[in-house]
Amino acid sequence: MTTLPQNTKKRLGLAIDLDTCVGCHACVISCKEWNTSNYGAPLSDVDAYGAAPDGTFLNRVHTFEVKADGSNAQTVHFPKSCLHCEDAPCVTVCPTGASYKRTEDGIVLVNEADCMGCGLCAWACPYGARELDKVEGVMKKCTLCVDRIYNENIPEEDRVPSCVRTCPAGARHFGDFADPESNVSKLSAERGGLVLMEAQGTKPVNRYLPPRPKADVSGDAQIDMPNPFLTPATTKPEGFLGWLDSALEKI
């Protein structure tokens, strides 16, 4: 049923740290690898080695430049996947009942056996989290690796979404936002977790941890970036070399 649950027992989601993300796209690749070979139809690539490669991905990394007047620009890598919204507009627009939000944990999923590939849910999503697979003709989206997080056939440390498990910078955190004591709730509270496009009223579960303030390296506050804590080495030679230096200066 495409009506949304009043509330869900858990609110599973991701806290994505924009300060630590290095933009390596490892999460993009590991997501594609896991989700093309597990739950649902594979994620197709079209013209993969040609002039205009096109493929289905459930996770994308945008890179933005942010610049305030009078300060240096800063680069922010921005991973983007489904935010598993509480008021998910993609679910309510679905005419076939393929899209649904799970009551037990709030994960938004597509039952591909019911999807007719009309694409309306992708229109309804402000975040671009859904992509219609060109080959299969069904809608694909992040499953929060529902086939990993409860999977007792894999080691316990692997029971997190593939993107979280693979991130070499530790920029992606998985947990239950309904529990104020969870790792993600605490991180979000501590760092002032951002809600994307709040005015859309979608109430996304995922939070983005904003970049921490940078040291001011402009103007007078020059910092030797590689060795900020070392005192400058003496440049004046001593002993014989010192005598030679001053003698040569005098000539």
Binding site: G23, D54, V61, F64, D114, M116, P126, A199, G201
Partner: protein, 291 residues
């Protein structure tokens, strides 16, 4: 938004088809027998043809039958159900008129009202999209209903109502474009609110997440062809409203001129519907620094 031909044909043809059906249901013109058959044939051909066209853009049409199940929340599902209900109720009315010379007016009224509700549900598929500020306003259903009623009156040969409705439609279409142009700014969605990074400064896309356009960009960040939008708006408004209205009011009635009026209106309708999609900007474009 990508102006897919199947969706333009669907909304245009089924809109005008159900519009004609509404007029026939209310008893305008009060035809029976062969004349009624021709009117109903045109209405059904347009309405059903449009509905069939809408299935061409489906990725997985074998599941289309399931689209009748989610009427509780989905406007697209409601649209499918209302279309089928209208077609069936109207068929009873049409059979009475064509074959039995009987006017079962209760079916006519019900069918006409259901036809109008169908057009409203079609319009809400687009009108509900908060992600497309240009569509998400009360003028969207008003415009769809006016298109259907004006086009339907034209096809039903209702000279004075058609001329009046076409004039109103022309004005409302113009106003919708003017207001629509301001909707994205009014929605206050920017690349800063999309990324949440506004407090740190001005944001721009430094590097795209992928090297060539993906589904999202092809479907929702369609910006090709907008440069002629202003010219197309003028052409559309002249063809869809002014030419047919002038013919209806000032040219003595003949089937040939009526045909010219209908053809002119249909071409204008297709152009304006193309613009409805091509000019619509989806907020996801902000993540690509494009509108």
């Amino acid at each position: 938004m990508h102006p897919a031909p199947s969706v333009i044909i669907f909304t245009s043809l089924s809109g005008i088809g159900f519009g004609l059906m509404a007029w026939l249901g209310f008893g305008f013109p009060p035809a029976t027998g062969m004349t009624a058959f021709i009117f109903f044939f045109i209405a059904y051909a347009l309405a059903v043809g449009g509905l069939i066209a809408s299935t061409f853009h489906l990725g997985n049409p074998k599941n289309a039958i399931k689209a009748f199940s989610q009427w509780r929340s989905s406007w697209l599902s409601r649209e499918g159900i209302m279309a089928i209900v209208s077609l069936f109720v109207m068929a009873v009315y049409a059979i009475g008129l064509i074959f039995l010379e009987q006017r079962w007016q209760i079916f006519g009224w019900a069918g006409a009202i259901f036809s109008l509700v169908t057009i409203y549900t079609t319009s809400m598929i687009y009108g509900q999209m908060k992600t497309v500020p240009r569509w998400s306003m009360g003028l969207t259903p008003a415009l769809f209903l006016l298109y259907a009623l004006a086009g339907g009156a034209l096809l039903a040969g209702q000279v004075f109502p058609a001329a009046l409705l076409l004039t109103v439609l022309t004005v409302v279409q113009y106003v919708s474009w003017q207001i629509g142009d301001t909707r994205f700014e009014q929605s206050r969605h920017t690349i800063e609110t999309a990324t949440g990074l506004g407090s740190l400064g001005k944001v721009r896309l430094l590097e795209s997440p992928h090297s060539s356009p993906n589904y999202l960009m092809k479907e929702m960040v369609y910006i090709v062809g907008r440069k002629h939008a202003q010219k197309l708006r003028i052409i559309a408004i002249v063809l869809l409203g002014i030419v047919p209205a002038v013919i209806l009011l000032f040219v003595p009635f003949s089937h040939m001129f009526a045909g010219v009026a209908v053809l002119s209106h249909m071409i204008g309708l297709f152009i304006s519907r193309w613009l409805f999609f091509a000019e619509a900007e989806h907020v996801v474009g902000l993540y690509y620094d494009k509108r």
